[in-house]
């Protein structure tokens, strides 16, 4: 039973290599309220490790990660 997560903001980070995805997300998360969800879509395979590391460090929560062949989509809940 995969529940649909509604994103309050979507960031298209496709084509951006390290360190841009996390730099952008660390700024973009401030555009939503605590409790809201940011969806970030990246094509950088390093994101699979980087986004969880960023979330743990910044104290935010990744609710769900979707992965297709070339794209990675992270649903990040702003906690702090």
């Amino acid at each position: 039973m995969s529940e649909e997560i509604k994103a309050d903001k979507v960031m298209d980070l496709k084509g951006l290599p390290c360190p841009m995805p996390i730099v952008k997300v660390s700024q973009g998360i401030n555009d939503i309220e605590v409790g809201q969800v940011l969806q970030a879509i990246s094509t950088d395979p390093g994101s699979l490790n980087d986004f969880p590391a960023w979330a743990r460090t910044s104290g935010n929560e990744i609710l769900k990660t979707e992965q297709s062949e070339k794209e990675f989509s992270f649903y990040i809940k702003r906690v702090v």
């Binding site: 951006l16 360190p19 730099v23 997300v25 660390s26 960023w54």
Partner: protein, 183 residues
Amino acid sequence: MELENIEKQIEELKAQVAALDKKAPENKISMIVFSGDLDKALASFIIATGSVAMGMDVVMFFTFWGTPMMRDKNKHVGGKDLMGNMFGAMLPKGVDQTKLSKINMGGMGTAMMKSRMKKKNVASLPEMISMAGELGVKIYVCEMSMDLMGFKREEMIDYPSIEFCGVAKFLEEAANSKVQLFM
């Protein structure tokens, strides 16, 4: 009597915690950029901007071969002695003139890498530096390196937070940092 003892202990513990708080490193990274190679400078700025994303304060110290990169290619200052002029001419003036530490091949390798970086959307060094500036990365340049190489403050890049210092300033920052790197 017993209660008094406990109160006293609590006071002592409070004082100890406060002292420990003072000693605890800040959420900060201090980096020495000693190398003047394009590759290491790029890595330095990727780590610097990434650190800001991770919520850290960032301080970068440019010393020795890292110093010439911090010059502005469009700024010209006179009044240098012969050696100063020679060093000035031999060393990269700004990041655009830096080279790869390997496979430079008379500049061909560096040019190839730069074009590949562009193709792959990797930010160039000048872009990284301006982003670092916007993100609040602090830059310090070693005063003694500048003096040795005959550089003047007026020929350094325009950057939101650029200052000049010696080893003590670096050590103060490093001692208060969770992460210290030497590039």
